[in-house]
């Protein structure tokens, strides 16, 4: 361990504002990079499931006559 106490760790020898804001940006960036594709995938499946539901469930893979699908 490089620090003797939690206070020392958070204080970062007086550089706390720089170190922790940089790490805040890092965590935010990593979260952004990860959440973006996960969110896009969920939205894709939700939209496609909705599109398939609009198709007549009785027709064997054919579009319904209303032509809305």
């Amino acid at each position: 361990m490089s620090f003797d106490s939690w206070h020392d760790f958070l204080y970062m020898g007086g550089h706390y504002a720089f170190v922790w804001s940089a790490y805040g940006i890092g965590v935010a960036g990593i979260a952004f990079i990860l959440i973006r594709p996960l969110h896009a995938r969920r939205r894709f499946f939700a939209e496609q499931a909705q599109r398939l539901r609009r198709r007549s469930p009785t027709a064997n893979g054919e579009y319904d006559a209303s032509g809305t699908a």
Binding site: M1, S2, F3, F9, M12, G13, G14, H15, F18, V19, S21, A22, Y23, I25, G26, G29, I30, F32, I33, L34, R36, P37, L38, A40, R41, F44, F45, Q48, A49, L52
Partner: protein, 249 residues
């Protein structure tokens, strides 16, 4: 050689790639996140402070991997651009589309953490010197690729993005050698393939863990993004519809 050729042809099949890659993506992302947490925690709490910079040098464990990844990501896009133009492989186009926003985020991260690190170290947030300016150019190149894709119709966007990705690779050696060619405030490379690190192991090992974990994380999210591109382009095909149904039920 025969197997290699089969693999090459299979890479041309988005469906095959999607089914194989789904298993890899989550493993790489989880391993990457665990490694990043470990590397950053090690660098923040355990590594000794720098004799000159004190504790502000701990920003390095985040800044250096973000910067390395933003460069690697662009080189990957350039290579994918060449593959697209030469072999017309659709997957290469999807790699460029998925990689650009990730690379832009890493690049922005490198610039912002660099500015924060620069303040206590150089006494300024920003200098218009060769290193910082060439990295800013890299960020604009990423924005250019993203904007081109959104502005052009799909048929021409792929080729345009590929050309910009290839041409933009010129910036990478400029970034790399900027600290050697010009006078700059920025310190020279932390890692060199040809020489021992300029830091003691207790300082560079956490950085090594952090860099490798960033690569694993990048590979995972890139595969996720490419998978999304495949789904979008193959939507309304039988296999995607089947996948949607199996997920919904």
């Amino acid at each position: 050689m025969g197997r290699l050729k089969t693999l090459w042809h299979r890479l041309g099949s988005p469906r095959w790639f999607f089914e194989i890659s789904a298993r890899w993506a989550s493993g790489l992302v989880v391993a990457g996140l665990v490694g990043i947490a470990g590397g950053l925690g090690w660098g923040l709490a355990i590594a000794p402070p720098d004799y000159l910079q004190g504790n502000s040098f701990r920003i390095m464990y985040l800044h250096v991997p973000a910067a390395i990844l933003s460069e690697s990501c662009y080189m990957l896009m350039g290579a994918a651009g060449a593959v697209l133009l030469i072999w017309r492989m659709k997957l290469a186009d999807m790699v460029i589309a998925a990689a650009a926003p990730i690379g832009a985020a890493f690049c922005a991260m490198a610039l912002l953490t660099g500015a924060i690190w620069g303040r206590p170290t150089w006494g300024t947030w920003w200098v218009w010197d060769a290193r910082t300016t060439s990295v800013l150019v890299l960020l604009f190149l990423y924005f250019g690729v993203i904007a081109l894709r959104q502005a052009l119709p799909e048929r021409t966007a792929g080729r345009a993005c590929a050309i910009l990705a290839i041409v933009g690779v010129v910036d990478i050696p400029i970034i790399k050698y900027s600290v050697d060619w010009w006078l700059t405030l920025h310190q020279p490379s932390t890692f060199k393939l040809t020489a021992a690190p300029s830091m003691p192991p207790e300082m560079y090992l956490p950085l090594l863990v952090s860099v490798l974990s960033f690569y694993a994380f990048f590979a995972g999210v890139l595969i996720l993004g490419v998978g999304n591109e495949i789904l979008l382009r193959e939507q309304r095909t039988q296999w995607v519809d089947d996948l949607v149904r199996s997920r919904a039920s």
